[in-house]
């Protein structure tokens, strides 16, 4: 976000990958490590926004792993008689919902759903996208043409609307939403990896590897793809926020997770009906979602500036 396009190209977080094809020796690795540490300091300490992003992301991940077990209340336990729509208090820091459930505990539990969906969707997208992109870029010719036209077909729609169409056709539940979002995300990775493969395969170290007799999958997997990794990682970080946001958006309109799931979008979809009496119910899940998406965006931007300073920002 705060990049200066005139700044000299630097790569503070460059991963220790031998991009010239030679093997890393001990001294190289030591040098790379101290370099990495220095870069990490520049990335986190010199840029407060990045630090904030990392802190929130770490908090979010911890919450997804342990949120349900450390929650003060059972996120599903109803108490219709005594605790309906209570405002925030010491016992319920974020109030309670229309069935007397603790909003904070539900938000803490819901973070796991968001992370799970993002992991499944982006995992699929990266694997399939990399496979398609790598094959298209490496083999070229008719294969490339066919694979890329199919990819274009998926990119021809606004992502969220394609996801809505697919999720709606499949039926309303969280698994179908994951399928829909996976369908939407992979083409971006296919395009990205293909472009990387096309440019990397022209580099000298690939020619060198070919000259010693390497070819086919081994050359692609061992020498070409590792060098496309940083670009994929940047895209991945930027997409986590978008995937979480899309999941909640779909849940909000009634696709995706269904009540009583504590998914954040689902919670807000219900909370909508009570927003005049219970501001806390609609406010806190939204704050949680906004902070999470914000943190992943900041992190993705920071990584992009760090790893790939010349690339265009989206």
């Amino acid at each position: 976000m705060s990049t200066d396009p005139t700044a000299p190209a630097r790569s503070p977080l460059a991963l220790p990958v031998a991009d010239n094809g030679r093997r890393l020796r001990g001294t190289d690795i030591r040098r790379e490590r101290s370099q990495l540490r220095r870069n990490l300091k520049r990335f986190l300490v010199d840029n407060r926004l990045n630090l904030l992003g990392v802190v929130i992301v770490v908090g979010f991940v911890l919450l997804s792993l342990f949120g349900e077990s450390i929650a003060l209340h059972d996120p599903y336990a109803q108490n219709i008689t005594g605790a309906k729509l209570l405002p925030p208090s010491f016992d319920h820091p974020m109030g309670t919902d229309e069935l007397g459930r603790d909003v904070l505990s539900r938000i803490m539990t819901g973070s796991r759903i968001s992370l799970q969906v993002a992991a499944v969707v982006l995992g699929f997208a990266v694997v399939v996208g990399t496979l398609v992109g790598a094959v298209a870029g490496y083999v070229g010719g008719v294969v490339d043409e066919v694979l890329m036209r199919v990819t274009d077909l998926f990119l021809a729609f606004p992502a969220l609307i394609l996801a809505i169409a697919i999720a709606a056709s499949l039926g309303r539940d969280l698994r179908n939403t994951m399928i829909a979002l996976s369908t939407v995300f992979w083409p971006w990775y296919a395009r990205l990896v293909r472009a990387q493969v096309l440019s990397i395969r022209e580099r000298d170290f690939v020619a060198a590897a070919q000259s010693i007799g390497l070819s086919g999958p081994r050359l692609l997997v061992r020498h070409v793809l590792p060098n496309a990794l940083s670009v994929v990682i940047i895209q991945l970080t930027l997409d986590v926020g978008f995937a979480i946001l899309s999941t909640s958006s779909l849940s909000f309109i009634g696709l995706g997770a269904q009540p009583p799931s504590p998914e954040w979008g689902t919670m807000m979809s219900t909370a909508r009906n009570y927003f005049r009496d219970a501001w806390w119910y609609i406010t806190f899940p939204g704050v949680a979602l906004t902070l999470t998406v914000f943190a992943f965006n900041v992190l993705g931007d920071g990584l992009q500036d760090a790893l790939d300073p010349r690339s265009g920002r989206r």
């Binding site: 396009p5 729609f157 609307i161 709606a168 009634g254 696709l255 906004t290 914000f294």
Partner: protein
Amino acid sequence: MLLRLVVRRLLFLVVVLFGLSIITFGLSHVVPGDPARLMAGPRASSSAVDKIRERYGLNDPLPVQYVAYVQGVVRLDFGDSFTSRRPVRDDLARYLPATIELALAAFLLSTLVGVPLGVLSAVKRDRWPDHLARFVSISGLALPVFWLALMAQFVFFGRLGWLPDGERLPVGTDPPRAITSLYTLDAALTGNWAVLGTALSHLLLPVVVLAYGSLAVITRMVRGGMLEVLGQDYVRTARAKGIAQRGVVVRHALKNALLPTVTSLGLQVGLLLSGTFLVEIVFSWPGIGRYAVEAIQRLDYNATMATTLLIAVVFVLVNLLVDVLYLFLDPRISYS
């Protein structure tokens, strides 16, 4: 060359629509869920359900249903909506103007605010306009549009009571005589100032909320473009010739800095169209976004598919328009 570009894109559009229709049709017909039962209602007899199934051809083999569907779509006949029981085409015609009004206003707002804000941010780098612009561009991408809509509704309607909570006009107010079917424009054209004011007050919240996301993207892109251009030699030359700051920025730098932003217009339209689905629901805005969401919730396949197809067409056409526009703006570009 231009003609070739247009023809090629239009051919691609046909392929895209074909693909989409297969995806949505295929998916919606292989999964369980019985539209006939849904349409007849929970208490209908099974013979009534059968009758509906017969009438809408739901008993035919899938390929037959698909061919029938495509034949209809080519004639702009999307079938009947299962819920409104009217032809989907009539429904779309009825709800489309509201969406056009909303999306167009949001587009204008985000451009008219985003471009100056981006320029200001680049020129006053690291001073408060820049901080403001960065806040907008960071928050705009992170704020869920439906949550922003709900919060705006909560504050400006629920707490302050300054603005209405939704719909295009209050119940009991007649819309202005239809010329364009965009209420604000029609009211202005017919000189119906009272209705214009009311319509604007209803439009305000949904438009600002919808525009915010794309405002963020535009601000960010213009800022980036300006920063890049302002560092270039020709700008320094212009300054050296004694041209005032304003002239350098507006006449020399902005033109080139806007090019990347124009390319992102396609993306903007995608954002706005997706946003209408969420914003219209919150503000009960009677447009095709709300229509589509309601159709989805009621398993109304015909309506869902027609809306999705319509949006795909709009999206591809706008992108085509952007590419053509780009060709005129930047003669260095050629699409080969």
